[in-house]
Subunit: 374 residues, 2 copies
DNA sequence: TTGTATGCGTTATCAT
DNA sequence: ATGATAACGCATACAA
């Protein structure tokens, strides 16, 4: 300790320790932060003793601890996390990379993640993506902050995943299933969700399908579409008319009109939408603009089971992600990677839950009705 | 530089500079991070030269810059933000403290804040509150991380605001109007919003009001209530029947039933709800459960203008916060405080915008109808 | 249990 | 323009 530049440090061992109030005023005068040296000086102990008092489980005598804590409280001393992380190599920060779309679908996801991360004593440093293409720039920033781990609700390239390995930064991919990549993943099986939905609808006799897809580069939506399309093919049903949406209400409304237009004016048996919000748009368009009875004339289904899907005016047929479980699992997996690096990649895949709702007909029509429909 | 412990550093001035690949392998072997010393060694310059190359506007020759950047790219060197912040006293992090409820009302608020904060080169460190009472614990954590500033979408006590001053941490209070506190604030005038809504409804002849209030400790909702009640009193209208809600759909449904029960079975002229989601619950209850025509028999109004309020099935009468402007203003204000500390407190108050919608009758009834209603 | 000495990786100051 | 050196505030190995 040779900080003799500071007036407050100009104290030899023999000089009396300053009082808390005196020293605090001096620090204020010098316009600097309160450090562990200040606490040590006031408490009459060494700086390392102060440090130990703030480390859980360190060996400090009751007497020393009490003196230090009294001084620390009086000076309003708080350890500096930046300095600490420099030496411990732990920043106690976890980066969460989240694309805008993901955030809007699951308003609770971020808050839940934050809660679970906080439980382990770390905090969330937030990186939002407004286009998936910004990811490389954002990652560059992530490295700087020396975060202890990353939860990414975005689609990473293999090169990007590889950089995490090289830099030894634990990574959990959230709500994206990167097929064929050996990355730690917590996700919902979107492919299976697409298949399951088609199976249920087909079993009830739907034959002509329309689909309102998600935004172009969205991996979640394309997985669902793939599942749905493959299941349709397996069942020998005609290919679905697929139009592009961007997950919002307006694109659900437009999507239905476009499907009908592209089908020569015919209304399909069922429309599968890439999100609940689009499904709600589709539903409102069908009922209020086109005067179609749902589900009598048209079945509509969504994905996500957002809160609104459950409102009386909609009561949507949809598939629920077990978000609470997924966020808890993501935090847990990340912590285990941080504590124990270098294990094999683990994929925790959750099954989507079918929500019956009332916007899709889920029982087969009686024979008479079938002949009428045909 | 006396890091002679490292094999890779065991190089005197006369020894040849190692190649990028050699050095990188050595670093890997020693299982340590790439530092500016490594880059300096490979590039054949001093460590300070490397540092300058990463500081915009520093004076470095083209030749040196090129050599350094080549080495840095090859080694995948990224400056360590923790070390940097230790000396610059800038962490390039902004804490955002947000209570759960706030997050759920405005799914875009956090993402927008993050975007605006990122524009200035900083990132958001997220602190979520699950109860407002957790705030003291959370603040303790905030100090540790040495954030450059704080945006708090939560209600702070005077003592808490004072601690920000003492610690000289710039603070912007978001979407809360702390009356009488000299704190920097970006908010929407909730009191005025409450008044405005009552004024509009009263002008259209509504006389008997019910209110579904927000959660107990929520300052935003109580401001609105205060504005609404005071305006009612001014107009000489009867006191509103007020029931407590917790901002969610279910409490909107229950709230309407409770209001009617507490009014001896009479349906009020209008129900003012503390949030759109509650208003939607109230609306669904009125229409689907009680068979009331809205707005013919009952007017329903909300607050917030969330996306769903605009859906065809609802088309809610509500009040919009200019969220985009508010988030931009909050980030801007915080940056100005960081760059120029110690100015007088500034309050940026935005006016809520009335959204007519179709769930409240906004024109006076014709005389004949009035006599019928009376 | 306590204190001394050192290093974490950077920026800033000051010669050159 | 460049290099040597001193902070920044803390944790830790080691000696006492």
């Amino acid at each position: 300790m040779q900080r003799l530049a500071y007036e407050t440090m100009r104290t030899t061992k023999d000089a009396p320790a300053p009082t808390i109030a005196e020293h605090k005023a001096a620090i204020q005068r010098e316009n600097r932060r309160v450090t562990s040296y200040d606490v040590a000086l006031v408490a009459g102990v060494s700086q390392s003793a102060v440090s130990r008092c703030f480390k859980p489980g360190a060996s400090v005598s009751k007497h020393t601890y009490a003196r230090v804590m009294k001084a620390a409280d009086g000076l309003e001393y708080i350890p500096n996390a930046a300095a600490r992380s420099l030496i411990t190599r732990r920043s106690n920060m976890v980066a969460v990379i989240i694309s805008n779309a993901a955030n809007l679908f699951y308003p609770e996801a971020l808050s839940e993640l934050s809660k679970h991360v906080a439980r382990g004593g770390k905090r969330v440093l937030l990186f939002t993506l407004h286009k998936e293409s910004e990811l490389d720039l954002v990652l560059n920033d992530v490295w700087q902050y020396q975060v202890d781990g990353v939860i990414a609700a975005a689609t990473l390239s293999e090169a990007q995943v590889a950089e995490f390995e090289r830099r030894r930064v634990p990574l959990v991919i959230f709500n994206r299933n990167l097929r064929g990549q050996a990355a730690n993943t917590v996700a919902c099986d979107q492919y299976e969700a697409g298949r399951a939905l088609v199976s249920r609808l087909a079993a009830a006799g739907h034959r002509v399908f329309g689909m309102i897809d998600g935004a172009q580069d969205n991996a979640v939506a394309s997985e669902r579409r793939r599942g749905a399309c493959e299941r349709l093919a397996e069942l020998g049903l005609p290919e679905a008319v697929i139009v592009r949406g961007n997950f919002d209400y307006a694109s659900g409304k437009l999507g239905l009109r476009e499907i009908i237009a592209r089908s020569g004016g015919r209304v399909p048996d069922a429309v599968i939408c890439g999100s609940d919000v689009m499904a709600i748009g589709c539903l409102d368009c069908a009922r209020h603009e086109l005067g179609l009875a749902v589900p009598a004339q048209l079945s509509v289904a969504g994905f996500d089971a957002v809160e609104a899907s459950n409102w009386l005016s909609y009561n949507l047929t949809t598939l629920r992600h077990p978000m609470q479980q997924m966020t808890a699992a993501a935090a847990e997996l990340l912590y285990s990677l941080i504590d124990n690096p270098g294990g094999a990649a683990e994929k925790r895949m959750f099954a989507p839950q079918f929500v019956e709702g009332a916007t899709a007909r889920l029982v087969a029509l009686p024979p008479a009705a079938v002949s009428l429909a045909a």
